[in-house]
């Protein structure tokens, strides 16, 4: 297996404000990364250097971020990263299904020499070597290997989570959406190893396909006729599809037990586009506890239990607790924040007080001045 297909996102990132700046896979994570970094890194770390990316809506940020794929060694002469965007309405060659991004991606895959294709989406963070499930896939002669994780479903996870039932033989007998909250179930991770010929047949009539549709409709309807086998992943897994999940899983990164296996610096590194920010400067009166802070920040106030992205400024006297500050946020002197998520380039003026709550973090839109 040397080729991956990245389906377009479930939906643009919506944090409840109606502004969709970026596609979900371009969502920020862990102070420094975007979600797509995990999937691209996992692929190259597993020897996959040909990646077809089907683009959905609001993909500008994603394209700027990945570019030619140099940071992931995906700027290959042979293979590398290939994009499949939507054509504008008037510029269609066939005026039928063949013009759709997914069909053009399949045509491309058809020409790539490969038995199997890794099908993923870009809205999750985990660190995996795909060669392990591939071994099982080849050994069992499966048509499809479904990668899943067994863990309780949080209330906030329920949207967009598909789960499956696995028979004793290892076969997947059922895939469903809307899992019960609280109980451990086999959550589909949105990653499948599929025989290329099977994949092309399954999707040959689709105008579009995101991961929910692929799991719950396309695959779910073929479980009797195809050999679909499960493979259990045991590491850290986070899917981000909403403000509560964005907040929850970013805060998860404060715990080394989650963070360290995810970044696994010694063997499987997660790569991202690097920027020439300076190191972070802590002032004379800085007071920082249990926080992760990216490069280029200036911290002069107090931060506690925070995830702080690049080039953020927290001025003297400000107190920020339990918050996620995305890049270039500025927190004015003596401001006080608790349970807040700021998007990029938010400015909180001097002496403002902003309070959310653990279950309801307050989101401040990109570029707003409070």
């Amino acid at each position: 297996m040397n080729v991956g297909l990245c389906l377009s996102d479930l939906q643009p990132q919506t944090f409840g404000d109606g502004s969709n700046h970026r596609t979900a896979s371009a969502t920020h994570f862990a102070g420094h990364f975007r979600l797509i970094d995990f999937m691209l890194s996992n692929m190259v770390n597993s020897g996959i250097y040909t990646v077809a990316i089907v683009l959905g809506s609001q993909y500008q940020t994603l394209l700027s971020h990945i570019g030619a794929g140099r940071e992931w060694d995906l700027n290959r002469s042979v293979g590398g990263v290939q994009y499949f965007p939507q054509y504008p309405g008037g510029d269609r060659r066939f005026n039928d299904v063949r013009d759709e991004p997914i069909q053009r991606a399949l045509l491309y895959l058809d020409e790539v020499k490969a038995e199997n294709v890794l099908v993923v989406d870009g809205s999750s963070a985990y660190n995996i070597d795909f060669r392990e499930p591939l071994l099982q896939h080849v050994a069992t002669g499966a048509d499809v290997t479904a990668i899943y994780v067994n863990k309780p479903v949080l209330e906030i996870d329920r949207d967009f989570t598909a789960y499956c039932k696995i028979e004793r033989s290892g076969r997947v007998s059922e895939i469903q959406s809307d899992p019960p909250a609280g109980e451990p179930v086999n959550q589909c991770m949105g990653a499948y190893i599929v025989k290329k010929t099977v994949l092309i047949r399954l999707l040959s009539r689709e105008r579009s396909c995101d991961m929910t549709k692929f799991s719950c409709q396309v695959l779910a309807g073929t479980l009797k006729s195809l050999k679909v086998i499960g493979w259990e992943f045991s590491g850290y897994f986070a899917r981000i599809c909403s403000l509560p999940t964005f907040f929850h899983y970013n805060m998860d990164m404060l715990d080394p037990q989650n963070r360290e296996p995810l970044f696994d610096f010694n063997s499987r590194r997660i790569h991202t586009r690097v920027h020439d920010s300076t190191p972070t400067k802590y002032g004379q009166d800085a007071d920082v506890q249990n926080s992760i802070v990216a490069n280029g920040c200036l911290i002069e106030g107090k931060i506690e239990n925070c995830v702080v992205f690049r080039n953020v400024k927290v001025h003297a006297g400000a107190v920020v607790r339990n918050s996620v500050l995305q890049r270039e946020t500025v927190i004015g002197a003596n401001a006080e924040l608790n349970w807040i998520v700021t998007d990029k380039q938010v400015i909180v003026s001097e002496s403002r007080t902003l309070l959310g709550y653990k279950t309801h973090p307050v989101y401040i839109e990109r570029g707003k001045i409070v």
Binding site: A30, G31, H32, F33, D37, R70, E71, L254, P256, R259, F263, F265, R269, I270, H271, T272, R273, V274, D276, T278, P279, T280, K281, Y282, G283, Q284, D285, A286, D287, V288, Q289, N290, S291, I292, V293, A294, N295, V308
Partner: protein
Amino acid sequence: MIMAGYYKECVAMLLAGGSGSRLMPLTEHIAKPAISFGGKYRIIDFTLSNCVHSGIDTVGVLTQYMPMYLHDYIGKGHPWDLDLMNGGVSLLPPYSSGERSDWYSGTANSVYQNRHFIETYKPVYVLVLAGDHVYKMDYSLMLDSHKKRGADCSIAVIDVPKKDASRYGIINTDARDKIVEFEEKPAKPKSSLASMGIYIFNWDSLKEYLELDNRDEQSDKDFGKNVLPAMLAAGLKMFAYRFKGYWKDVGTHESLWEANMDMLVDSTLGMPDWHVLSRSRSRPPHHIGQTGRVKNSLLASDCQISGVVENSILSRGVVVEDAATVRNSIVMSDAVIKRGAVVEYAILDERSVIEAKAVVGQQRESGGKITVVAGSWT
């Protein structure tokens, strides 16, 4: 493959082959220009960034001493946008050829041995730079002044305090900054203009004097000692170009420590829009734990801080364990300071380990020197 016919007005030759013996043990395994600096940089980043921001896109890097890591670091030069088809960065270590194989015997000799590299670009001017200084400078302004004055050679100079002048190569000029005399570390300096080791030559003149110097068996093949005085004696038009701004030669433990500490005061060195470009790997942000305390410090990515850090600069991946203290120190990447250790006024090399409860460094106020701890390179 360098394509003929692609000419460059100015080619930079960056001298990065010296042994940096005064910085031992930091230079035991890597060349001085590759030493880590300011939390996320390496010293050579400053010069390479200066070149790119000054519009000079053809840079030969002359390497000799411990070049492996330096070569690896510069690579094809993409962090500096120097991965170009025409020009870009070229690594120029000593080589063997049909008749002879020579190490670089001096700064002038290293450029002489690479005269064919320069010739491929048929430049009008050659900029000679050192790879071991920390500064931000727009070379295009110096080149403008060189052209305007119709000089054969321009030397960048900086005004140093009178009391320090005898540590530098001093340049005496007339009222219009035309150079009249060189003095190498004079006991009684006549001026306070120190040479920064940055020269612009007309390539035709330089070529001629490098040939002459090469034939002179008595010569040390050094720009400062031999080539520049020979040019002056022959009556060439040589001018001093006055530079105002931050500049530091980081050749000793003390000066390396001081220059790092200067970054703590202003990490932009007074020029916030003049970015220092650097090769960096993506690593997660740093984490400051429940017991960590950080004050007046610069921290790079992936550090894990559970102890106290004050007035210090920490590079990538540094671990400061519980109850350990780091003050007034420079800590290079992936060093580990274990439980209860105290580090003061020290430079810890890459991947060095300070054992639990160890005490490293001495108070500077009572006349102590900077303590340097060797790293682990194997």
